[in-house]
Amino acid sequence: MPSRGWWPLLRPYVMIAPAMAGIGLFVLYPIFYLIKLSFYKYNLMNKAKSKYIGLDNYHQIFTRGDFYQALGNTALYTVGVVVCTMVLSLLAALWLKRKSRWNRIVQAGIFTPHIVSIVSIALLWMWLMEPNQGLLNYLFKLFGLPPSAWLQSSKTALLSVILVSVWQGIGYYTLIIVAALQSIPPTIYEAAALDNASRTNVFFRITLPLLSPQLFFILVIMTIGSFKVFDTVQVMTGGGPNGATSTIVYYIYQFRTTNIGYSAATGVVLMAIIGLLTFLYFRLLARKVHYQ
C-alpha cells in the first residue's frame, strides 16, 4: 500500500489518466502532427527526403487562386445551407408543433432523409437532376419553365448541391425546433393573448427569444458542418464543373497524394477559419441568446 502522504495528491491524476491518454492520443497528437506536417514538403515515398520548409506552404495557399475559389464556394455553400435550412426548419416546426397524428406522420416523413446514407441521397438527386431524362426538368417543362442544367453548369452546380444538403438536413433540425416549441408553456401564449399581442409580436417577442438557445446551437453546429462539406461534392460533382463546386475539404482531398504538406496546411487554415467563426458567433450573438 502506498503511504498516505502522496497518494491523495496523486489520486485525481491517476483517475483521469485513462481519459487524458485517449484525448492525447486521438485528439492532441493528430492535431499537432497535422500542424507539423504543414511545415514540411513531405515525401510519401521516402520519408527521409521530406524537407522542412517553414511557412512556404501557407504562403503558397494564400497566393493561389484555386484556394480562394474553394474558400468562396465553401462560404457560399455555408451561407446558403445554414440560412435555408434554418428558415425552412423553423417554418416546418411552427407548422408541425401541434401534436396530431397527421403531424407525426409528416414529421417522420421529413426526418427520413436523415437516416439514409448521404451517398445514396446524392446518387438519387443526380438522377433527378439529369438534364435530359431527369424528373426535375420534366416537371419544369410541364409547368412551362425553362429547363436547368443543374449539376452540369458552373452557374447552377453549387446551388444544386445546396438544394440536396438542405433537403437532407431539414428533418433533423425541424425535430429539434419542434421539441423546443413544445416545451414552451402554453400559459405564456395565453398571457400574451390577454395582453392583446399580435401574432407577429408573439413570434418576435416571445417564440423566437425562447427558441434562441436551440437556434444558436443549430447555427454553430451547421456552420461547422457546412464548412467541412465533402461527401455530396465528391459524389455529385467531383468539384466541377470547372472548380465551381470545389470546397475546402475537397481541395484538401485533391492534394492527399501529391502534396500532403500542402494539404495539411490547408487543413490547419480551415481549422482556424472555423474556430474564428465560432468565436465570432459567441462574441456577437451569445448576448442575444436567452438561456432559461
Binding site: 408553456p185 400559459t187 405564456i188 395565453e190 398571457a191 400574451a192 393573448a193 390577454l194 395582453d195 392583446n196 399581442a197 399580435s198 409580436n201 417577442r205 416571445i206 427569444p209 425562447l210 434562441s212 436567452h290 432559461q292
Partner: protein, 382 residues
C-alpha cells in the same frame, strides 16, 4: 360596470363534458372566489371569462355584453396565472409594459404607469432585472403588476398563491384584499384552498364536478351549508358527520360546537350500569345540568390530541365501531389522550342531511323528529 354572467354554458373536452348547462352571475365590484376540489371546473370557468378556453355552447357576458366572439385581449380582463406565466425573455419592465405597448399607449404614459405600479407592488428596484433572478414572491408581484397596469375592469386569478410558502401566502392574502378595496374592480379568484376562499371572498361559489353547490357569502356557507358537500368542504377540520339510521339521513356538527366533559368515577359506574339496563331513560340522564335542553351526547375515548396554539383538536372515538369518531375543537387544553369523555352538542348546532346529501333545514316537517331521535340516543350508542 363589469358584472359577469354565464348563461346556459356548457364546456366539453373531446368527449367528456366538464360543465353542463351552468348559470351564474358574478356581481360587479365583488371579490368572488370559485372554490372546489381539483377537477371541479373552476379553472375552466375562469378561462371562459378570459376567452382562452372558450365555452362549447352558451353565452358569457361581461358588463351585460356577450363576449363569446371577443378575443381575450379586448375583453378588458387581466389574469394572474398559477405559474405566473411571466415572459422569461423580457425584463420586469418589459413584462409589465407588454400589454400597454400592444394597446398603443404612448411611451411617456407607459413609463409613468410602469413606475407607479412597480412601486405599488414593491418592485421599484427590480424593474430592469430578468425574471429568472427574482424570488417566487417577487415573480408573483410581477404577474400582479402586469395585470394591474392594464387597469382592467375584471381581475382573474387562478390559484395565484399556491406556489408561495405559507407565511408569504398569508401576507399576500391581506394584500389582495386591500388591492381589491383600492381598485374596486371585479375580482374572480380560483382556489382549492377553503381558507383562502373564507378569508378573502365577498361571495363564495362552491363547485363540485362541474355543478355549483352553493353560492353565498363565506359566513353563510359556513353557518348554513346547502348540502353535505358544502358542510364538509368548508371548515378545518371538516364537519363531523354520522348516520342517524332513519331514512338514510345523516347528521353533522362543527368541531367547535361540541362540549367535552370528563366522566367522573361515579358517572362512569352509572354509565356502565345504565348500559346494562334497558329501561333507563334518555340520554340526558347522566348529565347534571342543562337537562331541559335537547342535546346529542356521545361517549368515547380521546384517541389523539393536536395542540395548535390557541385551540386544541381532540379526536373522540369509540373503538371497534366504525364511524364512531368525531373531531372536537376546544379553546381550553384540559384533556389528555386516553381519557374517557362525554361529548355534547346542543340541538341548535346540529345539521341534518337527507339521503341525497341535501340539507334538511329547521322548517322541514321531519326536522324536529330527527332532532328528537338523535338526542334521545344512548350516549354509549354509536
Amino acid at each position: 360596470m363589469a358584472s359577469i354572467e354565464f348563461v346556459r354554458v356548457t364546456k366539453s373536452f373531446e368527449k367528456s363534458s366538464v360543465i353542463d348547462n351552468l348559470n351564474l352571475t358574478i356581481e360587479d365590484g365583488k371579490f368572488t372566489v370559485l372554490v372546489g376540489p381539483s377537477g371541479c371546473g373552476k379553472t375552466t370557468l375562469l378561462r371562459m371569462i378570459a376567452g382562452i378556453g372558450p365555452q362549447s355552447s352558451g353565452e358569457v357576458r361581461i358588463g351585460g355584453k356577450d363576449v363569446s366572439r371577443v378575443p381575450p385581449g379586448k375583453r378588458g380582463v387581466a389574469m394572474v396565472f398559477q405559474n405566473y406565466a411571466i415572459y422569461p425573455t423580457m425584463t420586469v419592465r418589459d413584462n409589465i409594459e407588454f400589454g400597454l405597448k400592444n394597446n398603443r399607449v404612448p411611451k411617456a404614459e407607459r413609463t409613468r404607469l410602469v413606475e407607479t405600479i412597480g412601486a405599488t407592488v414593491g418592485l421599484a428596484g427590480y424593474l430592469d432585472r430578468m425574471p429568472s433572478t427574482l424570488s417566487g414572491g417577487q415573480r408573483q408581484r410581477v404577474a400582479l403588476a402586469r395585470a394591474m397596469v392594464k387597469e382592467p375592469s375584471v381581475f382573474l386569478m387562478d390559484e395565484p398563491l399556491s406556489n408561495l410558502d405559507a407565511k408569504l401566502r398569508a401576507q399576500m392574502r391581506i394584500e389582495l384584499i386591500e388591492l381589491h378595496k383600492k381598485l374596486g374592480a371585479t375580482f374572480v379568484y380560483v382556489t382549492h384552498d377553503q381558507v383562502e376562499a373564507m378569508s378573502m371572498a365577498d361571495t363564495i361559489v362552491l363547485m363540485n364536478e362541474g355543478v355549483i353547490q352553493q353560492e353565498a357569502p363565506p359566513e353563510d356557507v359556513y353557518r348554513d351549508p346547502a348540502n353535505l358537500f358544502a358542510a364538509q368542504f368548508i371548515g378545518v377540520p371538516p364537519m363531523n358527520v354520522g348516520e342517524l339510521g332513519i331514512d338514510g339521513v345523516r347528521f353533522g356538527f362543527r368541531p367547535e360546537s361540541a362540549d367535552l366533559a370528563v366522566l367522573s368515577g361515579a358517572e362512569r359506574e352509572l354509565a356502565a350500569a345504565a348500559a346494562g339496563d334497558p329501561i333507563r331513560p334518555g340520554a340526558g340522564a347522566p348529565k347534571p345540568a342543562g337537562a331541559d335542553e335537547a342535546r346529542y351526547a356521545f361517549r368515547g375515548r380521546i384517541a389523539t390530541r393536536e395542540m395548535l396554539g390557541a385551540e386544541t383538536l381532540y379526536q373522540v372515538r369509540r373503538d371497534g365501531e366504525p364511524g364512531a369518531s368525531f373531531m372536537v375543537k376546544c379553546f381550553a387544553d384540559r384533556f389528555a389522550v386516553d381519557q374517557e369523555v362525554e361529548l355534547e352538542v346542543p340541538a341548535d348546532k346540529l345539521f341534518f342531511f337527507d339521503a341525497a346529501g341535501d340539507r334538511i333545514r329547521r322548517d322541514h316537517p321531519a326536522h324536529d323528529a330527527y332532532v328528537a331521535a338523535l338526542c334521545s340516543r344512548e350516549p354509549a350508542h354509536a
